[in-house]
């Protein structure tokens, strides 16, 4: 790690294009390395071990969901006064994680941040899988799952129509729009790479399957021209969604009148937290994945370091938001608001609050040190803290406000049940199972896009080439 070629990034020479890929940097080797993961006759042994565990957890999730549907929502810990419990906590947690993928693929694309090309595919896949886990919760917490279609404005014999003034309905549209756009964006980016896999396939089955999903891509200039244009349009469509989805999720709280929820800081605070948690999860999964599948030269330490910088920035924003909430509670002078925040820090859930502050505000500050943000172990540990901290943040927001609001006679203490815990663990199983299957059967790195940052794509001074450094 000491002789890392990323040091070739000359900050004193502003015209230099940074080296984004290590190792062999010709076009064919990129294809070989990425397709090699998919085409290897057998995945690494660790993959088998991992998917055995995660698929068992997924089965547990399905069992818990089936138990819930057959028995009723009473199997969870939600009860008066905490009518929202882990279901909403976990929903917000997973939706938050879903934010990194689209930020990397859309916003960084529009900002011409070329380093995104190595990680956008995997991050977008994580977005989709996290949305799957998130979407599960609202649809099962309605209780009568078979009536979940009532969420959508479909004319029916009951003359029942969704309440368009309710942020919960905005949420349905925000999250489903996000899921659809993310899926389209991810799939469209996959098409040229699927065609590569199709062309390299040796068995009929692979040729057929990859061929079907490659939609007849033949790499003609017209295809590329349309592809680039469509990609730009989708990026422009997805960019506002990165900001809007978690803003709408925050409205679920902010539009209500519960003290601790009814604050205008919620939308930006939630968006910063979502990006923070999303990048945390990307680091958590990419650090082992690049080791396991030998992609260290494509997903370099430079990429991880950049993501750690985003974690540091958004983590600091989240910390600022926590401080602002306290300041406004004091400065605003509303006694209920003041009580809620004192109760958060010193009440029965003090442990969750201070653990959250440690994980979200203190832990990321270590990333100021280059040694720490470029070491795999330290960044992995910090990213785990971020995951825990952001889950606790949602827990603190949902539970402390609900269990102690205006009426002391109806205060309570929320306790999750075993079903709550197993369902949440199960969503991790689902998320990781989908991710492991993705790693094995689809190109984890955007082959076509990575090629655009290689020297061969820039004959007159490309990324990290010697000529480029002096050329300008």
């Amino acid at each position: 790690m000491t002789a890392n070629p990323t040091s070739a990034l000359h900050l004193d020479e502003p015209y230099a294009r940074p080296i984004l890929i290590d190792g062999d940097r010709d076009l064919a080797s990129v294809t070989r390395r990425v397709c090699g993961v998919v085409e290897a006759p057998k995945p690494p042994r660790a993959w088998y071990i991992a998917i055995t565990i995660t698929s068992a957890m997924t089965v547990m999730l399905f069992a818990m969901v089936a138990y819930l549907i057959v028995t009723g929502v009473g199997v969870w810990g939600n009860n008066s006064p905490a009518f929202w419990g882990w279901d909403i906590v976990n929903f917000v947690f997973w939706v938050g994680i879903a934010h990194a993928g689209t930020l990397i693929s859309a916003i960084l694309f529009l900002l011409r941040q070329k380093w995104r090309t190595s990680i956008n595919r995997a991050a977008e896949a994580m977005t989709l899988f996290a949305v799957c886990c998130a979407g599960l919760y609202p649809s099962i917490h309605v209780g009568r799952v078979w009536l979940a279609y009532w969420l959508f404005p479909v004319p029916n014999q009951m003359q029942m129509w969704p309440n368009f003034r309710s942020p919960l309905l905005w949420d349905v549209f925000a999250v489903s729009t996000y899921a659809i756009v993310s899926l389209l964006f991810w799939y469209m980016g996959l098409v040229p790479d699927l065609a590569t896999l199709r062309d390299r396939a040796t068995t009929k089955l692979r040729k057929g399957l990859y061929g079907f999903f490659a939609l007849g891509w033949c790499g003609s200039a017209r295809h590329w021209q349309r592809y680039e244009r469509a990609y730009l349009i989708l990026a422009a469509l997805a960019t506002p969604l990165v900001l809007s989805v978690h803003s709408v999720v925050s409205f679920d709280f902010a539009v209500s009148q519960v003290p601790g929820w009814h604050t205008t800081i919620f939308p930006p605070y939630f968006v910063a937290g979502a990006i923070f948690s999303g990048f945390g999860m990307v680091v958590t999964t990419m650090v082992p994945a690049r080791e396991l599948f030998g992609l260290k030269e494509l997903v370099t330490l430079k990429h991880l370091e950049n993501m750690n910088k985003v974690i540091l920035a958004t983590g600091s924003m989240v910390g600022l938001a926590y401080a602002t909430e306290f300041f406004i509670a004091w400065y605003g002078g509303n006694p209920y608001e003041r009580f809620v925040f004192l109760n958060r820090a010193l009440g029965p859930y003090w442990w969750a609050y201070w653990l959250m502050v440690f994980c979200n505000v203190v832990a990321p500050q270590f990333l100021w040190f280059k040694k720490i943000r470029t070491s795999l172990w330290t960044m992995f540990v910090i990213s785990i803290f971020v995951n825990i901290g952001m889950w606790l943040e949602r827990f603190v927001i949902v539970v402390t406000s609900l269990t102690r609001d205006y009426l002391p006679t109806s205060w309570g203490y929320f306790k999750p049940t075993a079903v709550d815990v197993c369902t949440f663990a199960g969503t991790f199983g689902l998320f990781l199972t989908l991710f492991l299957l993705f790693c094995r059967f689809l190109p984890m790195v955007a082959i076509a896009e990575v090629k655009t940052v290689l020297p061969a794509a820039h004959p007159h001074g490309g990324h990290g080439s010697k000529e480029g450094a002096h050329h300008g």
Partner: protein, 214 residues
């Protein structure tokens, strides 16, 4: 190698139209296909005894309340016990084979197993007396039973159908003394009469969820 032959290009417009049609189809399926208007109206099960409302209520002119005694006082319009039938049928056609289940019930005390025609879901609270005493006629919901050989469901009894009347009850209100009259026709516009009755009886039907779902 390309998986898709060239003629697939022609399918693209078809695929778009197909997707749009599929969306419309789902909406239409929920809105019309799954509606009680489609599923339930016209339901007329065969009864253990071919009791003819057309003969009893129409030809003979029995009042509805002769058999359905509780309709003005209770939530349910009672299905008459065998004893009510036997008020007449001890003398009239006492040998009829069609009436065999009634006589069997009379001798062993077990009820005749009538099949229910108008069946609301269990989560709906409906009170006949509340409607009948305010002047909602039998025919508004049950149709011209006096012309039915076998009783059939005339109205959808869907939630939307209930709400239509709860939102605007006046066209279905008549002086309570005529609620069971099958051929009563208003001499003035029905809504006008209904408005007067609504005024006099302070009829303001609620559309809160808890009105019917208690």
């Amino acid at each position: 190698m390309n998986f898709f032959p060239k003629w697939c290009n022609g399918l693209r417009t078809l695929a778009g139209a197909g997707a749009a049609a599929a969306g419309l189809y789902v909406v239409a399926l929920v809105a019309y296909g799954a509606s009680p208007k489609t599923l339930n109206v016209g339901f007329a099960p065969e009864q253990p005894v071919p009791f003819s409302h057309a003969m009893h209520a129409g030809e003979l002119g029995l009042d509805c309340r002769y058999c359905h005694t509780t309709v003005e006082h209770g939530a349910r319009a009672a299905i008459p016990p065998t004893e009510t039938c036997m008020n007449c049928h001890t003398r009239i056609r006492p040998q009829s084979e069609l009436l065999a289940p009634v006589f069997a019930s009379w001798s062993d005390g077990a009820s005749v197993r009538w099949k229910r025609v108008h069946d609301l879901p269990d989560y709906v609270y409906f009170d006949h007396s509340a409607h009948v005493t305010r002047g909602v006629a039998c025919i508004s919901c049950h149709g011209r039973v006096d012309t039915m050989e076998r009783v059939r469901q005339e109205q959808p009894l869907s939630m939307g159908w209930c709400l239509d009347c709860h939102r605007n009850p006046t066209p279905n209100l008549r002086p309570p003394e005529f609620v069971t009259a099958m051929e009563w026709t208003p001499d003035r516009p029905a809504a006008e009469i209904g408005a007067e009755i609504a005024q006099a009886k302070n009829i303001q039907p609620s559309t809160d969820c808890s009105t019917c779902h208690r």
